[in-house]
Amino acid sequence: MPQNEYMERHAKQHGKRFDYEERKRKRIAREQHKGSENAQNFRGLRAKLYQQKRRKEKIQMKKTIRAHEERNVKSSEAAEPSSTPLPQYLLDRSSEKNAKALSSAIKQKRNEKAARFSVPLPKVKGISEEEMFSVVKTGKKTQKKGWKRVVTKPTFVGPDFTRRPVKYERFIRPMGLRYKKANVTHTELAVTVQLPIISVKKNPQNPMYTQLGVLTRGTIIEVNVSDLGLVTAGGKVVWGRYAQITNNPENDGCINALLL
């Protein structure tokens, strides 16, 4: 493998060949012929790899062409300002795209008593402590004690968390499995927004997991919805709302949740 930019360095020190530009132009001009020759004559794995590369290039090319075509199109009809009726003073303004749109629908749903305590995932499969924790065996002292655990599932750790002294630390929540944001969806709005997690409200597996902030399927989390601009009936800004995790975060590497 080349170390450093030795070719550039050489060109800087000694300059380029006098016919460099001319040769480059000719090479580019012949590229098509070269490509066609390769496509026809490659055999075996090389051919396979070449076709793969070529296919990707073509997809990109078509995408760019389509984008250019779209730019050239002039729509004759006046753009419909908005699908929802707006008063005269909001008509010519660029409408802010946020999920606020149908917030009243959510509010109405919450008013229904039955809906108040129902969650999208009422039951989840249990997770045993053996699966949740792995025993820490490293270090001389720890080996003897045998009560130190690593949480093997994704966790939420609050911003103000500081580790306890290593001697007393019973649970380790690995940095790589900590999450701060969740992709929160509202089904009726068909809107998904990435929102910061505020806290873990309830882990259905075990109250201890709630305390540890373990994020598993079915966990109720509180998310910060202030970006959505939701407002209560009293006119106060809503900023925390509950959501339930619907995927297995340890499998997917992300957290998907439904707004309750």
Binding site: T84, P85, L86, P87, Q88, Y89, L90, L91, D92, S103, S104, K107, Q108, G229, V231, T232, A233, G234, G235, K236, V237
Partner: protein
């Protein structure tokens, strides 16, 4: 463990209660002595023939000052309520100042806080108030469903608070009976959203402007359409304004409509045709107002205000100054023009001549300042400022009202012409003195854009409608929140205070019309 003293015995408790009772009615003692008061008219800044009067401090309540001033002006029985203002500086008195509360007195308001000494002479500016009083709305009297889509505009009938007309995104306008909280008529005919509704000053015709480029006229008592659609505009209709009642040719009212197609058309209501069109704007005409002196004012997205002469149908002049779209405009005479000959007493003059005379008198009373007719104009713009104009006297603005931090969406004059309120996308409503544009108060409380605001008929209260789903009623004198009115489930797009002050009507994105009362 700490020692807890035993609870007081019954005898001790009764003794304490008796002591509290006897002490409760100790009054605050007023100091003896008198204060010399000079009364100055706030509009002119001059005392006129009024003498400097010495008043005992014990008697110097606002109520007594008001009686005294009425006495000095020899008004006899038809007394006018006054509001008194105090400013620390000497003349000239530049409007505003600290207003004395209605139940306040000079000692508690000024002498005790050390603003004046009892020995010095105090100059109080006085401003006449409406003789009737509107009570702040405090509860939702009715939430009326009916509209199938967002409610975009609402206006009360000029006669009283019985009828409210709303325009909505379901292509209909509706008329509601506010006494019973029921829908009365559904005005079907438009093929797209109804963006503007306007009652004629007489209250017998309702005009609606729509997204389908047409204006339609309706009979509000029967709910029948008056003829077919008035076609002419090539884009949607932004606003409507009726010809003032005292300028109308008898039986031939006209209505002006401004449109996105950058024209304003004046419609002959009886002939159902275009009387004339005003072309000259280069962009969407956002607002049109027909002034009481026969001028038509229009504001546009092309950053100009144009003033047209209705009689000659020509452009009189153009007011420039704004740096961005002009969104809305208010006239100082707007309330008087909207209500025509209807006043707070509810008495309607007998014949046509008297009606016109009364409408004219009401208009002149609203705009006369220092003996001459001064119709002022406030324009709200996207450049975050409000301009105050006096187009009859000068083509330069009186004042440029700066302070909003985002676009100003709505501006309105108080019915007595003393205040201007502007509502902006920066969540604030700001109150300004309409005479010189001095900043008075910032009404903070909304947590999202304020879309519209409306003064009560006595100019003492203001109600504002916001994106944060609430209405809020404000006290104009103190600039404080008077009443928070939650209830709507989504953004409130339109609000109107009935001309008689009884009710507030509002509508918005939750498709419900709400009627509020005290």
């Amino acid at each position: 463990m700490a020692t807890v003293p035993p609870p007081p015995s019954k005898r001790q408790k009764t003794a304490a209660a008796a002591l509290a009772q006897t002490q409760a009615d100790v009054t605050e003692d007023m100091p003896e002595g008198a204060i010399r008061v000079r009364f100055v008219d706030q509009a002119t800044g001059e005392a006129g023939s009024l003498p400097v009067i010495s008043i005992a401090l014990a008697n110097a309540t606002t109520k007594n000052l008001e009686l005294l001033l009425n006495e000095l002006q020899e008004r006899g029985d038809d007394r006018i309520p006054y509001r008194f203002f105090y400013t620390s500086g000497g003349p000239p008195y530049d409007g505003g100042g600290e207003a004395l509360g209605d139940r306040s007195d000079l000692y508690n308001a000024l002498v005790k806080p050390g603003k004046i000494s009892a020995e010095s002479e105090v100059t109080l500016q006085y401003a006449p108030q409406a003789v009737f009083r509107v009570q702040a709305v405090s509860r939702c009297a009715a939430a009326i469903s009916g509209h199938g889509e967002n409610i975009l505009t609402a206006q009360f009938s000029p006669a009283n608070s019985q009828r409210l007309a709303t325009g909505a995104g379901d292509n209909t306008a509706r008329i509601f009976d506010c006494e019973t909280g029921t829908p009365v008529h559904t005005l079907k005919g438009h093929t797209s959203w109804v963006l503007a509704v306007a009652w004629s000053p007489e209250g017998n015709i309702l005009a609606t402007g729509s997204m389908d480029n047409t204006v339609r006229l309706w009979d509000p008592s029967s709910g029948q359409a008056l003829g077919t659609a008035l076609k002419g505009h090539t884009k949607w209709v932004n606003s409507l304004s009726w010809e003032p009642y005292h300028l109308q040719a008898t039986g031939r009212p006209r209505v002006a409509s401004s449109s996105k197609d950058s024209t304003v058309r004046i419609w002959d209501v009886v002939g159902r045709k275009i009387d004339f069109a005003l072309t000259g704007h280069k962009d969407s005409v956002t607002c049109v107002k027909w002034g009481g002196t026969g001028l038509i004012y229009t504001t546009s997205h092309d950053k100009t205000v144009k003033v047209w002469e209705a009689s000659t149908q020509t452009l009189k002049f153009t007011l420039t100054g704004h740096a961005h779209w002009i969104n809305h405009m208010a006239l100082s005479s707007e309330f008087a023009l909207r209500t025509g000959y209807h006043d707070h007493t509810g008495k309607v003059p007998g014949n046509e001549v008297e009606k016109v005379a009364k409408a004219k008198e009401r208009f002149e009373k609203a705009v006369t300042v220092g003996g001459e007719i001064v119709e002022r104009l406030a324009t709200a713009s996207d450049d975050t400022t409000v301009f105050l104009w006096s187009p009859l006297t000068s083509r330069k603005p009186i004042a440029r009202l700066t302070g909003h931090q985002k676009q100003v969406n709505h501006v309105t004059f108080s019915p007595d012409g003393f205040y201007v309120a502007s509502a902006g996308f920066d969540n604030h409503v700001k109150l300004w003195s309409a005479r010189d544009g001095k900043f008075l108060f910032s009404l903070r409380g909304h947590v999202a854009s304020v879309y519209q605001c409306c003064f009560s008929a006595d100019s003492r209260l203001l109600v504002s409608a916001s994106k944060d789903t609430t209405l809020k009623a404000w006290d104009v004198r103190t600039g404080k929140l008077k009443q928070d009115l939650p209830g709507h489930k989504d953004e409130v797009y339109a609000v109107d205070w009935s001309p008689d002050g009884e009710k507030v009507g509002s509508g918005g994105r939750d498709k419900q019309v709400r009627i509020w009362r005290n």
